[in-house]
């Protein structure tokens, strides 16, 4: 353990352990996606069902994995906010889109019946 729950393993791989009760899997996946340009990433669970995100170096790139792991934590907070907002208010987006195209509903129904 070096800093803020970030573990550096012997082979240089960096491991971050996350509590599922704080971060959703959706937020974790979206966050890891953003970092796929800088390193190889694996999401797994350990024996205690804790979510582990494993970062390893892309040989051609010289990024510092510990720095990436710290950035990952910050990004994860934002991603969780996005997920929370979507869960609480995403249904309104569906209402907006449905309302926006409500004028073509009769056309769709006509198309199906003819």
């Amino acid at each position: 353990m070096t800093h803020q729950g970030i573990k550096v393993l012997d082979d240089g791989t960096v491991l971050v352990e996350l509590t599922g009760s704080i971060y959703s899997l959706e937020a974790i996946r979206a966050t890891t996606y953003k970092f796929t340009d800088r390193c190889y990433i694996k999401i797994d669970t350990n024996s205690d069902r804790v979510i582990c995100v494993c970062f390893s170096k892309k040989t051609e790139l010289g990024h510092n994995l510990e720095t990436i792991a710290k950035e990952f934590y910050n990004e994860l907070v934002d991603q969780q906010v996005r997920v929370d907002i979507e869960q609480r208010f995403g249904d309104i987006r569906n209402l907006i889109v449905r309302k926006a195209f409500s004028s073509i509903e009769p056309i769709n129904k006509k198309g199906k019946s003819s």
């Binding site: 953003k34 340009d37 800088r38 996005r82 609480r88 309104i92 209402l95 907006i96 195209f101």
Partner: protein
């Protein structure tokens, strides 16, 4: 009454500021503390941030239904480019070309090569299909090869299309995309009687243009081009000729010279276009390509140069910035084949090759010329309009090119201003969905959108006037110009 949050996307610009944007493209830049209070529903109804957010429908403390109605109207307006289906129909009369452009995207054939030319049966079938499009506006754009090498096919298509249109009564226009070197007085006398626009290529000053776009039998294509531009203007009018440029590694550090060249040749706009990774450009990429970061930096510097030109009193428009600014600053719809959601492939623009093969975009045709026919819709000679345009293949492609459901794009704060290009994703990254973290197009679009938002946000009134003059295509009146 506690307020209710409405759907929004956000991006942290820096430690102090957060950019928020909604489905309708309304946006605000909030202080990070205000953003935190917003999402935790702690803003007080008297704060200026609350009032700004309410005015732009990021939150509501009144009835929900009228707000949804308002957002739905704005959203529908933004997406109204979808109302009319395919308006742009590109036709390739021949693959033969007399140019020897170093970055050629279409893998042209030499002038002496036999075949690779459209016959009249295919041309007629194409026109019949074009007029099956429900769009009230039809633009037939002749591409190449060099289309003027088959002027008889151009004439045939123009005349047959005009005849069909006597009954269809659509808003019909034609564009010939040509290097102009083969244009003659006789051709122009013919074209003058029809609704024709000319789109040519000018890559910059003489040395740069000749380096990028030599002819097969002459290394100097520049003088001929300039001469023919003047000839076209004499016959068809000043506004009938537009030009496109492609940025290569050689022009990257000389984009101001390219702008000066456009000005000196009487053009009032330019579209600073990066190199596409197709055709010969991909094959001979080493000597012409560059890192996308280098293009972004060069683009920003050149845009500032163009803004200064406008501030000194010359109306001169940059096309890419204008497209984005129209999306950022107006409620209007802006379909753009290469950058809209859903993607414009086939539903906004489609291309008919010389052999009757129909591809979802010009880039798809370029891929096919390298042997990859993944985006071939079919052939006009054995498929009907519904079979081509209502196929499972096309529906699937379109459904996978909506930013609203693409990884990363779905929650990107800049989604309302951006677009998807599945063919580009496929060409660059091997699949139509693509990976945004490594996508050069994503990097370019996002950086340039953020750059423009920064210029808008920083509020130099003279720069705003320049932007509006681009959007409205009306020059700023002299007293409103001045140094920056």
């Amino acid at each position: 009454m506690p307020y209710r949050l409405l759907p929004l996307r956000f991006d942290r610009i820096n430690v102090h500021e957060v950019f928020v944007c909604n489905e309708a493209g309304e946006f605000l830049v909030l202080h990070a503390n205000d953003f935190s209070m917003l999402v935790n529903q702690q803003l007080t109804s008297k704060s200026s941030s609350f009032l700004d957010l309410k005015a732009k429908q990021f939150l509501t403390d009144t009835e929900l239904e009228p707000v949804i109605e308002m957002l739905a109207t704005k959203y529908r307006t933004k997406k109204s480019f979808l109302d009319n289906f395919t308006a742009l129909h590109m036709v390739v009369p021949t693959l033969k070309c007399n140019s020897n452009c170093k970055y050629c995207q279409v893998s042209r054939k030499d002038v002496t090569t036999k075949g690779f030319t459209m016959n009249k049966t295919t041309a007629r079938r194409i026109v019949d299909l074009i007029f099956k499009s429900p769009s009230p506006c039809i633009k037939i754009e002749f591409q190449g090869g060099e289309p003027l090498l088959e002027f008889r096919i151009i004439k045939y298509i123009i005349e047959y299309a005009e005849w069909v249109n006597l009954f269809k009564k659509k808003d019909l226009e034609f564009v010939i995309c040509t290097n102009l070197t083969l244009m003659t007085d006789k051709m122009l006398r013919y074209l003058k009687g029809h609704r024709i626009y000319i789109s040519t290529s000018l890559d910059g000053p003489k040395d740069l243009h000749n380096m990028n776009r030599p002819l097969q039998n002459d290394s100097d294509s520049y003088n001929l081009l300039i001469d023919r531009i003047k000839l076209c203007r004499n016959y068809l009018g000043n506004d009938s000729v537009s030009a496109l440029m492609t940025t290569t590694r050689h022009s990257l550090s000389r984009l101001n010279d390219v702008v000066d060249e456009y000005l000196s040749q009487g053009f009032n706009s330019i579209f600073i276009r990066s190199l596409n990774p197709y055709g010969f450009a991909k094959k001979d990429g080493e000597s012409f390509t560059y890192k996308i970061e280098d293009f972004i930096n060069a683009y920003k510097k050149t845009l500032n140069y163009i803004i200064d030109i406008n501030l000194r009193g010359t109306h001169f428009v940059e096309g890419f910035a204008t497209l984005l600014l129209t999306r950022i600053l107006t409620p209007f719809s802006t379909g753009f084949v290469d950058m809209q959601s859903p993607a414009g492939v086939a539903i906004s623009g489609v291309i008919y090759n010389y052999d009757g093969n129909v591809y979802v975009s010009d880039e798809a045709r370029m891929l096919a010329s390298t042997g990859d026919k993944n985006f071939l819709m079919g052939n006009v000679n054995n498929k009907t309009y519904p079979e081509l345009f209502n196929s499972e293949f096309l529906c699937s492609l379109i459904s996978k090119s909506c930013l609203e459901c693409l990884p990363e794009c779905s929650w990107c704060a800049y989604q309302s201003f951006c677009g998807a290009d599945p063919v580009r994703n496929y060409s660059e990254q091997g699949d139509i969905i693509g990976n945004r973290a490594t996508s050069e197009v994503c990097k370019k679009n996002k950086e340039i959108i953020k750059f423009l938002l920064d210029l808008v946000k920083n509020g130099d009134q003279r720069v705003q006037k320049v932007f509006w003059s681009w959007i409205t295509r009306h020059p700023i009146s002299p007293e409103k110009g001045g140094d920056r």
